[in-house]
Subunit: 192 residues, 2 copies
């Protein structure tokens, strides 16, 4: 069963080795991990050859997700309080296709706490009880791990979220939290 | 023709008024703007009543997109170098459904420039020519306006992007850039 492995891991200096490690964990649980950098299983459409590299990467990732049975996303905060937007795009894409969406993240702080921490002194507690940023935009505070569209997709799709509080130097190398997520996905997908 | 208006505008203190203004622009171009805070056109499924508010919001937004002919996203950077992740989720969702995706943004700086600016002194120019953050993760640099999944979806879906360099105090109130995007969407959707 093919599982698309969304995440900013593709930006790591040793992205290929990281992808191999993630796929190894999947294999131990009877799943076939598909890393975004993998070539397509089928031949690429002839028309893609003329496209710039970034467009080919986007189309390849979309094609990977279309042939996957589920998606596991690395939701570890990336350059701000939220997950990598490429990863989040792929979660939305998978959700619309009806795939179960699983996520894991290297922090246990919820989305509101992370956002207020990111805003620092700019965060203001308004008269209506809501926290707002320096421009007046509200801080979403539903106790979710991420923006509610992401938590909503995980719940509504029958997926699950695994969170652990990892030290900074293990955020991009840890496999244990990912493995717990894979184990839950394997159990859930086998049950279906 | 119903157009879903994705964006962090829902977090503004005057979100309802902002939604009305955006919908007014759509109406001038013969389109029906659907703001995320709008109630569903049809009755909500009975089962939703027992769900927490955040889950109902997520399901409602997904339902809005499923009944839309296209999506227009406010891609203005939000608490970091990228767009709001709720908005990006919805772009991925719309893309998987085959909807044309349009975007507008209050900056002309490309994604790589915004990311390097966000990283500041932590940005490092590696021996391989790539810029990396303090943890070694590469800065995506394809000349795109956003992560390549977003630019890729706009291009592949037949959409368009409108960018303007707006001063900070007009980032969340401007309607002119949005209106240029709506005009392009109206022309494109009528032509189909």
């Amino acid at each position: 069963m093919r599982i698309y492995l969304a995440g900013p891991d593709v930006f790591l200096p040793d992205a290929a080795a990281r992808g191999a490690a993630l796929k190894g964990v999947c294999a131990r649980h009877g799943l076939v991990g598909v890393f975004p950098l993998d070539p397509l299983a089928e031949a690429e459409p002839a028309g893609w050859a003329a496209l710039p590299e970034w467009q080919r990467i986007a189309l390849r990732n979309e094609a990977h997700i279309r042939t996957a049975a589920a998606l596991i996303a690395n939701l570890t905060p990336f350059r701000g309080p939220s997950a990598d937007v490429g990863t989040v795009f792929e979660i939305g894409f998978a959700r619309a296709l009806g795939l179960p969406v699983f996520g894991w993240t290297a922090t246990r702080a919820d989305f509101a706490a992370r956002t207020r921490s990111f805003l620092g002194d700019a965060a203001r507690h308004g008269r209506d009880g809501a926290w707002r940023d320096g421009e007046g935009l509200a801080v979403e505070a539903f106790g979710c791990a991420e923006n509610l569209m992401i938590d909503g997709a995980i719940v509504a799709s029958g997926g699950a979220l695994e969170a652990a509080e990892l030290p900074p130097d293990r955020r991009w190398t840890d496999l244990a939290t990912f493995e717990r997520c894979v184990a839950r996905a394997a159990a859930q997908l086998t049950r279906r």
